[in-house]
Symmetry: C2
Subunit: 236 residues, 2 copies
DNA sequence: CGTAGACTTGAACACTGTCAACTTGAGTGG
DNA sequence: CCACTCAAGTTGACAGTGTTCAAGTCTACG
């Protein structure tokens, strides 16, 4: 496809879906900055189930996801896992947390990402404050999401967590009422995102289906059939 | 006191403790930027128990806490509360989340904060990228803390949560082993920060005291008496 | 000294986790 | 094409951690 000539940042690499939604880093940059950004951008493809970055390793790269879904998570020494986010095209990975990554990232589906060397990006930020401004704005959004998730994990019931999760995903994906929504992650991922077990996630989804709030055509898709009641079930 | 002449940013206001630790916004700024920052800074004092900002209100100000302790939290419609952070001098409040505050902030102790008009700060950032760079770095730190807290809320036991809380507080406050650490917040605040009830917090602290991990000289101070075992109890 | 609020302690309960069995569906190979 | 296998998901029974409800203790303050 001829979109291969320019990625989200104008780079001559094969990111196919770079402009499918506003991209975190590039949007609204002046042409000169865009060009420089393109010059330092590369492409990284990762198969479903493989890791993109690992917690604790030197944070050499920053990525913007352009295709597929990525999960970011932290592990405890005994293997307990907390998924802190599911990323979709346009989201940033590996940004500005010091010298090492503070979380691991694994591809939920096959993914494509734009890669930037951290050092190059920092140097470019020095010349184009607009770029840094966009990153700061993005960091603010992530922080807001993190705080909402803390409320969910600390204070919501299993039912409220699942409802909030489905509504949030539908909103981010721009899914309309009644339209089937893909759930690329498995039950274990959902459980580790919501601070539950797979059994509780499964039971809760089943109860919601029986209550007529959702439909589960197959294991990897949902349709929201009663938006109002689902919102009421989300607790806020 | 003659420190009243200059606050953390060089402003002629009465922030007494502005230089007690590296201040988020000001540190390492060039003199010119510091001067401009000082010119737009004001001081805000809030009594213990009173609100500094409220979730949903227009985000007109950004603050740096210079004295005392502040809690930031989100509420659910039915009153359930999740405290997402306890802020200490040097921390930022109200930064860059869009047009409205996404959390409320209430003083745990009497506090003093430097106030910046959001618009003025944005304008200043346009002229002094260094300022924005510091804010981005700070946002990264907050994000890292938020992710650690998600792991705590989603996957840790009550005992691990309390241990992690005490260790984290001691580290941030620079408390040495054996030294008494002030706990200005009450049990209800701790519970709402850790996603527990006050009863569970109380029970857990008592068990830790009986196990010889900590001492509780009074309700608002702790000493860590067995750092190694407390760390082991924290789960990581 | 008495009161009120914060904290602690106890007992019963409930939500969610654990363990185990069963179902489903995709992939494989005869 | 069908039987087999295996992983993922579902369902059920029971258990346990933490919550709820209630009573008691402590302490600051008038």
């Amino acid at each position: 496809m001829d979109r291969q000539q320019t990625n989200c940042c104008g780079a001559r690499v094969d990111c196919a879906h770079c402009d499918i939604r506003p991209i975190a880093i590039c949007g609204a940059l002046q042409p000169m900055a865009l060009g420089k950004l393109a010059a330092i951008a590369g492409t990284r493809r990762v198969d479903a189930g493989a890791q993109l970055i690992q917690e604790g390793e030197p944070a050499e790269d920053v990525f913007t996801l352009t295709e597929g879904m990525l999960k970011i998570y932290k592990l405890m020494p005994d293997g307990r896992r907390q998924i802190t986010g599911f990323l979709i095209p346009g989201d940033l990975v590996g940004l500005a947390y010091g010298d090492s990554y503070i979380y691991s990232a694994e591809a939920v589906t096959d993914i494509v990402a734009c890669r930037f060397r951290r050092g190059s990006l920092l140097a470019l930020m020095a010349d184009y404050p607009e770029l840094e401004h966009r990153l700061l704005s993005r960091a603010g959004n992530e922080l807001a999401a993190a705080q909402a998730q803390m409320l969910l994990l600390g204070r919501k019931t299993a039912r409220e967590r699942v409802a909030t999760f489905l509504l949030g995903l539908a909103e981010r994906r721009g899914i309309d009422r009644g339209e089937p929504m893909p759930l690329p992650m498995n039950r274990s991922d959902i459980a580790d995102f919501l601070g539950l077990t797979i059994e509780t996630v499964s039971r809760t989804l089943t109860l919601m289906r029986k209550a007529g709030l959702i439909n589960l055509p197959d294991k990897h898709s949902v349709t929201i059939t009663d938006m109002a009641h689902l919102q009421a079930a989300s607790g806020d």
